[in-house]
């Protein structure tokens, strides 16, 4: 089986050089969407791992089966503390993802500008 050499050359060029042109378009459409999906997935997983839904549902249920009033009180306070603690954890994680997203959006143009700017100022090889 022999393929047309022209088609193969076209394919190789489009897959390598062509992808440079596709890069910016993909970065702010498909890529950004994928990142967003990934972030949502990660937060969702964390939400489930921290079992917020279960803890909120059981807010007034005493821990370790301590059904006396002191047990209930301690449990309630404990649950609030844990919920708040985990909430803070989740918040920081979400914040980190936000920073990551910003970095994602800004890095390519900034890096390009910096590179071009630096190049125009001096020839870096002899700088």
């Amino acid at each position: 089986m022999s393929a047309a050499p022209l088609e193969l050359t076209k394919f190789v060029l489009s897959e390598t050089v062509g992808s440079v042109l596709r890069f910016p378009m993909w970065w702010y459409s498909d890529g950004l969407l994928r990142l967003a999906k990934w972030v949502v997935q990660q937060l969702n997983y964390r939400w489930r791992a921290y079992s917020f839904a279960i803890w909120i549902k059981n807010l007034f249920v005493p821990m370790y089966g301590q059904y006396d009033w002191s047990g209930r009180l301690v449990s309630f306070i404990m649950r609030i503390v844990v919920l708040v603690g985990r909430g803070i954890g989740l918040f920081f994680e979400a914040f980190a993802y936000l920073l990551l997203t910003f970095a994602y959006v800004l890095t390519p143009p900034l890096a390009l500008i910096m590179a071009v700017y630096s190049l125009t100022l001096t020839l870096p090889f002899f700088g």
């Binding site: 193969l8 897959e15 993909w26 489930r48 803890w55 249920v61 005493p62 089966g65 910096m114 630096s118």
Partner: protein, 876 residues
């Protein structure tokens, strides 16, 4: 939408499905190249990125350090490190883009990774967006298509047809597994396949035939149905097989029927699917806690429970429980019962049908949290009831049970599984306290849920009418259909294969299910069949070594050893034995040609498996005077075919003249020993049941045999159904003897005598519906003098045989034998008086001679006419 408007798509919940790529050599070459090209290019990009950062670091170290490297002034100073680092970042982003956008050519199926509920939701909507299915074909599937293209091209055909796809899939790795499992000899189908491939118009550049496109869409749909990650070669294999009827005919003619082909292909797919499923399950399992504590931390320490139980959800989480196959109906019922207001459930089913498997399946779903909210964040814990009662002082059993239930109630996150709850009934330290009542009261409070398993007999016998029975919702777990049982075996076979390092053929599983379903009724399918294939695997490994194939014959041998029922393929030896059965029976039974022939034919029908399998092998009624060979024929059959005279269950019906004797035959309720007949048949299903002197039994007892003769089964006193489909039922009767003798004396034909018997003589003795159920009513003729002479010869032969054991020869002269026959002939009593005559005249005389020590070893005793006995001395 397809870029080519001529392509028609097929609507589905995933969108309009169509196959986009034109098949050309370049398409395949590009696919192949793509992988290599991208790998090289990505490595180059990766190196470039690293190099940029390296240069940045190098130039930073080499040059004069700035006062503040993070100041804006430095960043905009045009310094070399800033340039290289920026370039590195840019390259890095490009690298990420390349990996993400060009990394994997195969896009996972849209249904991959979704739960059952999510898929159902998806099913409801119909998308109109086009979907090019070629993107969801795995690399191996593409390889199959490429190979089929080559095949079409090489044979110079204009169209790539489903047969090309099939041939290509068959030659791939999945096809190899398929052929091994099916036990397929490729040479047998080669010719037929080549002929099919050679059909069709000639052409230079092959294109996809319309039927082939449809096959590819079908392959996609089937991968979707089975929640595969991508379309694989086995889906192409199945879809192309289903699409081509002539191909099915070719395989069928070679001995591979469509049902088997589909089963085996599904098996190959099932094993691939289970591997994929396992990785998905493991991901979900990480969210489930590995301790007794639930995620909401409401649970409590349960020391007593922990001592008598095992945590099924934990076992499932850690991968010790295999997935549940089938059983959708039972699972839905179980979940519905739990959902409908926290009710406890009893799973009622015969041993071995998979009650535990159902519970374990629930444990797996609880790990995935694919369950109603009532079961969310809970543990499924199985308690061994017998152990709980037996451990320690039996008087303290109620206390142990109470503390255990208390722990469960307080902990609140436990679903209790109790196997064999009937052992609770009557237990309680001998006092008035009954553990079952205690459990019922606790269940009624509703603090926890119980899932109990129990057999139907125990359920009706012990639980149903008690308060515990009213508290539990009954969910019946039936024996799976053979098809489902085979699927279960397919899923479980992987582990057995891995343990024993052997492979199962489809015939092995098929035989295991069919034969176990028929002959091993103590434990039900699928467990009975599972046990058989486990043993067959060990047997095959021992005899043929590792990596050998477990065949249907291995399975048949295991079953034959267990039951004595001949299920192995008929050997040359056995087949000649069967074909000459009449002759062999005549070696012991003189005359009575009709009876001998009927019996021999019944045995041949049974062994060649042409009979209907729902009744005994044969039901015979032997009529005739005493001493004409009725019982002797039964014994002869037992000795010739069943291996020994002892392979016969003989009931003298004169012992069953009172209706109360029924309990002796089938046993009494509550008595596990069972009845004389039912127990004997249960232990030895392949046998002769001889009912001697049937007319003497009480009519109620005869009624019992109506069911045996009609359905081939009998329920014993304990409620177990005993299988009678492998017995030969022979009843003998002396009723109407006078009539037979009179008519024979008149010279009436046997046929007319039989009609007379049935219509008049037997009417008062047996009910017509009873007589009707016999396959044959055989009239034994009274013996003639000639018959008696032959019998005398036979009996002399047996005397000689007994003496040979002592090393002494024996011969009777013909005249002497005739004298004996004359003396022993009695038209009324048949051959019986002959036996007495021989005893008197031959055996007594022999005893005298032997005692007088007049005979040495190797001497011969000769019986002369007139009863004279002489000793011929050994001449050396």
């Amino acid at each position: 939408m397809p870029t080519n408007p001529e392509i028609m798509g097929q609507p589905s919940p995933d969108g309009i499905l169509y196959w986009e790529p034109q098949l050309e050599p370049v398409v395949f070459e590009i696919r192949k190249m793509r992988k290599a090209l991208h790998a090289g290019f990505h490595m180059f990009l990766g190196l470039l990125t690293v190099a940029c950062f390296g240069l940045a670091a190098w130039s930073f170290v080499l040059h004069e350090k700035p006062a503040d490297p993070f100041s804006l002034a430095y960043l905009f100073s045009g310094a070399a490190p800033v340039f290289w680092a920026s370039l590195g970042l840019l390259m890095g982003c490009f690298f990420i883009f390349r990996i993400m956008a060009y990394g994997d050519q195969v896009v996972p199926m849209p249904t991959w990774g979704l739960t059952q509920t999510e898929i159902l939701k998806r099913e409801a909507s119909e998308s109109t967006v086009g979907r090019d299915i070629s993107r969801h074909f795995s690399d191996a599937a593409w390889e199959t298509i490429r190979f089929s293209y080559d095949l079409t091209h090489k044979t110079g055909k204009a169209e790539l047809r489903p047969i090309h796809l099939f041939s290509s899939a068959l030659s791939g790795p999945a096809g190899g597994i398929f052929m091994t499992r099916l036990g397929m000899d490729f040479e047998k189908v080669r010719e037929g396949l080549i002929n099919l491939v050679r059909e069709g118009e000639a052409g230079e550049k092959p294109v996809l035939a319309e039927a082939t496109k449809q096959v590819l869409v079908e392959a996609y749909l089937s991968a979707r149905e089975f929640r595969r990650k991508a379309v694989g070669p086995i889906e192409i294999f199945l879809a192309s097989y289903n699409a081509d009827e002539r191909l099915q005919d070719v395989l069928d003619a070679a001995g591979y029927p469509a049902a088997h082909v589909r089963h085996v292909a599904n098996w190959v797919r099932l094993q691939e699917q289970l591997r994929e499923e396992q990785s998905r399950f493991r991901m979900l399992a990480r969210l489930k806690p590995d301790t007794a504590m639930n995620r909401s931390m409401t649970a409590r320490q349960t020391p007593i429970l922990d001592r008598f139980s095992e945590d099924l959800t934990r076992m499932a989480r850690n991968g010790y429980i295999p997935p549940l196959i089938g059983r959708e109906r039972e699972m839905t019922e179980l979940l519905r019962a739990v959902e409908s207001g926290r009710r406890s459930v009893a799973l009622v089913g015969e041993p071995g049908v998979g009650k535990s498997a159902l519970v374990e399946g629930l444990a797996r779903r609880m790990v995935e949290e694919d369950v109603p909210p009532e079961l969310f964040d809970r543990r499924l814990v199985s308690v061994n009831v017998a152990q709980l009662i037996a451990a320690g002082d039996p008087g303290l059993a109620p206390q142990r049970l109470m503390s255990l239930l208390n722990e469960i109630a307080v902990s609140g996150n436990i679903i209790l599984v109790m196997h064999g709850i009937e052992s609770l009934v009557g237990a309680g330290g001998g006092g008035n306290l009954d553990l079952a009542e205690m459990l019922a009261a606790e269940v009624d409070k509703g603090y926890f849920l119980v899932i109990a398993t129990i057999t139907p007999q125990a359920w009706t016998g012990y639980i149903e009418r008690r308060s515990l029975g009213t508290k539990l919702i009954k969910v019946t777990v039936g024996e799976p259909e053979p098809e489902d049982a085979i699927r279960i075996l397919m899923a479980r076979s992987g582990y057995i294969e891995y343990q024993n390092k052997v492979f199962f053929s489809f015939a092995a599983l098929d035989k295991a299910v069919n034969l176990a379903g028929r002959y091993l009724r103590e434990v039900r399918l699928p467990e009975s069949a599972l046990n058989i294939i486990k043993e067959a695997a060990v047997l095959a490994k021992r005899e043929h070594g590792e990596q050998s194939l477990v065949t249907g014959e291995d399975v048949a041998r295991v079953i034959q050893e267990k039951t004595n029922v001949p299920v192995e393929a008929i050997t040359q030896d056995e087949s000649s034995k069967l074909l000459n059965l009449e002759q062999r029976l005549h070696g012991r039974v003189i005359g009575q040609d009709e009876a001998v022939k009927a019996v021999a034919q019944a045995m041949r029908r049974a062994r060649a498996e042409v009979r209907e399998g729902r009744r005994p092998i044969a039901n015979f009624l032997f009529m005739g005077p005493t001493g004409v060979g009725k019982t002797e024929l039964s014994k002869a059959l037992a000795a010739e075919y069943f291996g020994s005279e002892k392979m016969m269950i003989r009931l003298d019906m004169s012992e069953y003249q009172h209706p109360s004797a029924v309990s002796r035959i089938i046993g009494e309720p509550g008595d596990d020993r069972g009845g004389l007949l039912t127990e004997a048949v249960r232990k030895q299903p392949f046998t002769i049941v001889l009912l001697d002197e049937l007319e003497k039994a009480h009519p109620d007892i005869l009624t019992l045999f109506l069911q045996v003769m009609d359905d081939g089964r009998l329920t014993d006193g304990v409620g177990r159904t005993v299988d009678f489909t492998n017995v030969v039922l022979i009843a003998t009767s002396n009723a109407g003897t006078q009539f037979i003798q009179d008519e024979v004396a008149k010279g009436t034909s046997i046929e007319q005598i039989k009609t007379g018997l049935m219509e008049r003589e037997l009417k008062g003795i047996f009910r017509p519906e009873f007589l009707n159920r016999f396959d044959a009513v055989i009239v034994f003729k009274p013996l003639t003098l000639d018959d008696v002479t032959q019998i005398a010869h036979l009996l002399m032969g047996s005397v000689a045989k007994r003496l040979t054991e002592k090393g002494i020869g024996f011969r009777a002269e013909d005249e002497a034998v005739e004298e004996l026959a004359q003396a022993g002939f009695d038209p009324i009593f048949g051959a019986r008086p002959l036996k007495r005559v021989i005893q008197d005249r031959v055996e007594n005389a022999l005893a005298d001679i032997l005692l007088r020590q007049g005979v040495n070893r190797k001497d011969t005793v000769v019986l002369k006419p007139g009863g004279e006995m002489i000793v011929e001395k050994y001449q050396g």
